[in-house]
Symmetry: C2
Subunit: 331 residues, 2 copies
């Protein structure tokens, strides 16, 4: 489902990064960096992640001099079961709350829902908060890292971080120009250590749908940026787009999972993943490059593997989804 | 956050009920009844729940002669971790998908987001699908029932069922007239067997906010219907509304958790709960009474306990939320 917006703008974006991300190539773009450990002074990884999301909300409100009753709506999501991070972060604020989940595509899901509320003149200021935490995710989805379970090179590394994006109906220089809500794609892959392969077909479906519905060439965008396919998933997507749709992504395409870390030096296998991966890249580095007018038109396509350990234990394959958002500089 | 809608209507609602629900007082209102066991021919409870949601989507599409490409958007949610039921059900349809989670308030969350897309003229037909499954929920959130763990009388019984609601921008006799998105309320309760007490303050906050913003008395509604507080939570809400806001709910208020079962005869303790509880009551019994013009104005207020076993094990209390939707007959 593709739509063009008239009056949806990004007023501000606040990003918080964990130690691995702060050691990576995008370090200078993050607003807050936690470099000591993954606990951030809390007693559990889950509480550490809640702290990150809560802090990103508090600090974007403070930087924009907004009180709770000036934020109409908070839309948030994370990887924890029952969206526990979002729930407990939202409990700290007297702001109407909607919890959303499309795995690592949750960031674009939240922005699309928020854009719709703003376009509809129902809200003036809407906050979208997203987080993930490496250890909290490993513990819940895979094996606690203490087990030392070996992983293949196609596995990705969950990003630790949080972001809050403030959308508004008042003109700023960065517009949410259009969006495409993706469909669930299941290509019968059940390799939990190759999420890039799981998600690439969903990204392809959404990018193709977005370009077709808006009658655009891929070259319309300065950059098309998928969220967390990693190095192998990225290769699959390029090949898939060429083969299935005859669309050449070789010139203006990259993947957030391959940008957030230094893949040669950091121990992150195929790259970054998790909802915070794409949102940290898109709303620190890319957003700031757009503010400087170095990029004018960017299509961000966060991708989500709808991985349920319960269903994979029951021999099911892993479905995936991707939602696209077109950001444009409007001076 | 409260809004009035101009052009959002319910075109159809399809409900599927499990055995306990089919044995209850609302039996005749459900479209499909599974009365044999809780597996519905599947090999696991999770797959059984996926079957229910998938069937509700297929059958509402068939009854309305709609193909996949005539449904603009599917918004779905359930209680399973990672929204596994919604994900795997959505994977069966080529329809753009958004996953949402506010525990048992997910049903109203999905309808509010859908209403906004329709009001904004972005979609013509939007499906909202919701489910829960008693055994799948017990296994995930509490103890497998085989353990025979005793429960106090304040515990509720998760409803097994699924519903699909079809919203449209074309006039029908049942209008979604307004809605209020609730805030997360945490009153420091951590009794996992008393969700009614956890959720009642959230229901109160949302009902008060809805009435105040629209400058309405409680008597504006023929019926105000909370979703799954159960008999004790219902008493708490009546008392709370009286004490905190001087609003008398004694004449036109009831709770879905106390309606869906025969509390004297069925072994359901304080009543029904789960996302399917309120949606089965609201979109079988209440919806059909409204179609017959026996009720004209109903405020449905599904309530959600944002219960995370992980966070409760870490000594945290349970936050709650409620979203209200005003349904009106418009002949």
């Amino acid at each position: 489902m593709t739509h063009k917006y008239k009056n949806v703008y990004i007023k501000d974006a606040f990003t918080i990064a964990g130690p691995y991300e702060s050691d990576g190539p995008l370090s200078k773009y993050f607003d807050v960096k936690y470099q000591k450990d993954l606990y951030f002074g809390e007693k559990s990884w889950e509480k550490a992640e809640i702290k990150l999301m809560k802090e990103s909300i508090e600090k974007i409100m403070k930087r924009n001099d907004l009180s709770e009753n000036e934020i109409d709506l908070l839309i948030a999501g994370d990887l924890q079961n029952q969206l526990a991070v979002s729930d407990y972060a939202a409990a700290k604020f007297k702001i109407p709350f909607l919890g959303v989940y499309n795995a690592c595509a949750t960031s674009s899901e939240s922005l699309i829902i928020a854009s719709n509320f703003i376009e509809n003149k129902m809200t003036k200021n809407c906050l979208c908060a997203i987080s993930s935490h490496n250890m909290a995710a490993e513990k819940q989805f895979r094996n606690p890292t203490e087990y030392g379970t070996p992983k293949p090179k196609t596995a990705t590394f969950t990003v630790t971080g949080a972001s809050s994006i403030l959308l508004t109906n008042k003109k700023t220089n960065i517009k949410i120009e259009s969006s495409t809500i993706g469909r669930v794609i299941d290509k019968n892959i059940n390799d939990v250590n190759n999420m890039g392969a799981v998600m690439a077909p969903a990204a392809a479906d959404t990018i193709y749908s977005h370009l077709t519905k808006l009658n655009r060439q891929a070259s319309y965008y300065d950059l098309i940026l998928t969220g967390d396919l990693g190095i192998y998933g990225k290769e699959i997507l390029i090949e898939y787009m060429k083969t299935a749709y005859n669309i050449d992504l070789s010139n203006n395409y990259d993947d957030c999972g391959t940008i957030i870390y230094d893949l040669d030096k950091q121990p992150v296998l195929a790259g970054g993943s998790g909802p915070a991966c794409s949102t940290l890249v898109n709303f620190s580095y890319i957003y700031k490059e757009m503010l400087k007018n170095k990029l004018q038109k960017v299509l961000i396509v966060p991708t989500g593997a709808l991985f349920s350990p319960t269903m994979v234990f029951q021999k099911e394959s892993i479905p995936a989804i991707a939602h696209a958002i077109s950001l444009e500089v409007e001076l």
